[in-house]
Amino acid sequence: MHRALRKNAGFFYILPALVFVGLFVFWPLGQLVYLSLTDTSLLGGGKFIGFENYFKAFEDKSFWRALWFTLKYTVFITPILMGLGFLLALLTAPNRPLRQITRGIIFLPVVIGIGSSSLLWFWLFDQQVGLFNKALIDIGLMAEPMVWFTKADPALIAVTISITWKVIGFGMLLFVAGIQSINGEIGEAALIDGGSYWQRVWYIILPLSMRVILLTTLISVIGSMLAFDQFYIMTGGNPRGQTFTSVYWIYQNSFISFKLGYGAALSIILMLIILVFSSLQVALSNRSPAT
């Protein structure tokens, strides 16, 4: 017994973590699948109803609208985050004092909570006391304060601005690491060859950063597809439910309308969509050495 314990010591060290993951990730995952096949609600129920919830989901216009809105948000914000993030990385990649400080400042909002930043921007966007409106008027971009949250499109733009401020440093820092890991000699050679800065960016830096860019894009897309906090706080799903995201709609069904079984089915549909992106991410991660 004692020898067996010693021989398997390694396994005993990983056992607690395995038990935790089993108990709080895989077991709930199984429960989720089962729940999705029942009519469980917080008020009772729990009868097995087969794929009824899934059929219902396919006919649920609100769910499709939420999914479509989430997709729209993702397609809108991802190029901004990646493009701007890459430009900022080009600007701040050289290790010089001013650029390093700038890099540090751009990254700062990444560490604060999305709840706090959303409440901060909710105030900045307010049509009466909001300083963002005032700033836009002062620099002459607008004549009078804009009402951001009563229509879906301005609301989407407002959320996008606030989230760009909040997470732009995330991609930037990963891109900086990618750019810095490019072997200096390649750049030196190109420098001797002549050619403009932007040619070097296009022919050397961009292609060699492709893997980091793809991975970061996938991380960013997954994050946007799971957006909740910023919409819950800034739009509340309004106007008329037009800014519900998928997670928001699942939350709404599960914890406001108490339809847990139905919410579980929606969760599984969303999870399968996310799985497409996260499998791509995993496939990319294992291919070449890390940046």
Binding site: A9, G10, I14, N95, Q128, V129, I182, I219, Y251
Partner: protein, 302 residues
């Protein structure tokens, strides 16, 4: 805030990028100006929020608003301190949940990292993948079943509405990263140290305590740091699981500050709350930037 690059300067710094862009002197000035402008834009919301938090109520509700306060008051902070159950309660909740999350992450990830890095285990790759698999499952999807489980009585305990329940959810979020990081920390320690201890006849637990732990302290700090920030900032599960008002964490309290009384938002108090909620994260980032950036780059793109 000058050390950010130290963690990122992998291999050779790409100086050619700088030289290329800053070849001429006017170009250098232009780039400097752009850097300053961008920094100002990024800091502006935080500075404005800080300024709004010390504006007297009348100024905070002025239409149109002013950027700078004319008078200074700490009334907004006093209002937040007295908000419903009191800020101390919500702060205590947040800190307790964060502390539990840190403890859980370390208790699970340190041994797991040690086991994965230093032992021969049958099917090790498989276990490792299993431990990282939660990364593929959005935690948002697990909240309903967890909610149901926590509201049932298990061994005479009901976890619903407890700090521990929320800490468990935050640990789910943070554990794969923690295990990955600890495994790398343990792997980077040279074999020779271990051999010497084995000759001494130490068992694996004694070796963990006396040889390995002191050497993986940077990893432990990083795990704790990220566990704290994740837990402190997490919103959705805190919103769902902490249904009793006195159990709210700081982010959830902020939303009720905004809801205010009679539907009117108290903007000054709201920004005071925002400042208080941001402060710990900013302090940690500024003071422990080296650990933060190293951990970030280690975990994010793997």
């Amino acid at each position: 805030m000058t050390t950010l690059a130290e963690g990122t300067a992998v291999r050779r710094p790409a100086e050619y990028v700088a030289r290329a862009a800053g070849e001429s002197r006017p170009m250098g000035y232009l780039i400097g100006a752009v850097c300053v402008a961008i920094s100002a834009l990024m800091l502006a919301p935080l500075v404005l929020s800080l300024l709004a938090s010390i504006k007297p109520p009348a100024e905070a509700h002025e239409v149109p608003p002013n950027y700078l306060p004319r008078g200074i008051t700490f009334d907004n902070y006093l209002k937040v301190f007295d908000f419903q159950a009191g800020f101390a309660t919500y702060l205590g909740n947040s800190l307790l949940v964060a502390a539990l999350t840190i403890v859980l992450c370390l208790l699970l990830a340190v041994p797991a990292g040690y086991g994965l890095a230093r032992f021969r285990i049958p099917f090790k790759e498989g276990w490792f993948i299993l431990l990282l698999a939660p990364l593929m499952i959005p935690y948002q999807a697990l909240l309903t079943p967890l909610y149901l489980t926590f509201s049932q009585e298990v061994f005479g305990m009901r976890l619903a509405n407890t700090h521990l329940a929320l800490a468990v959810v935050h640990t789910i979020l943070q554990l794969p990263f923690s295990i990955y990081l600890m495994r790398n920390s343990f792997e980077s320690i040279p074999r020779e140290l271990e051999e010497a201890a084995k000759v001494d006849g130490s068992n694996s637990f004694q070796m963990l305590r006396s040889i390995f732990l002191p050497l993986v302290i940077p990893g432990i700090v990083t795990v704790a740091l990220f566990a704290f920030i994740t837990s402190w900032n997490e919103f959705l599960s805190a919103l769902i699981f902490m249904s009793k008002e006195s159990n709210f964490t700081v982010p959830i309290m902020l939303v009720s500050v905004r809801a205010g009384r009679l539907g009117a938002v108290d903007w000054g108090a709201l920004q005071a709350g925002v400042v208080l909620s941001i402060l710990p994260c900013v302090l940690i980032y500024v003071l422990l930037q080296k650990y933060y950036v190293a951990g970030f780059l280690n975990g994010a793109v793997k």
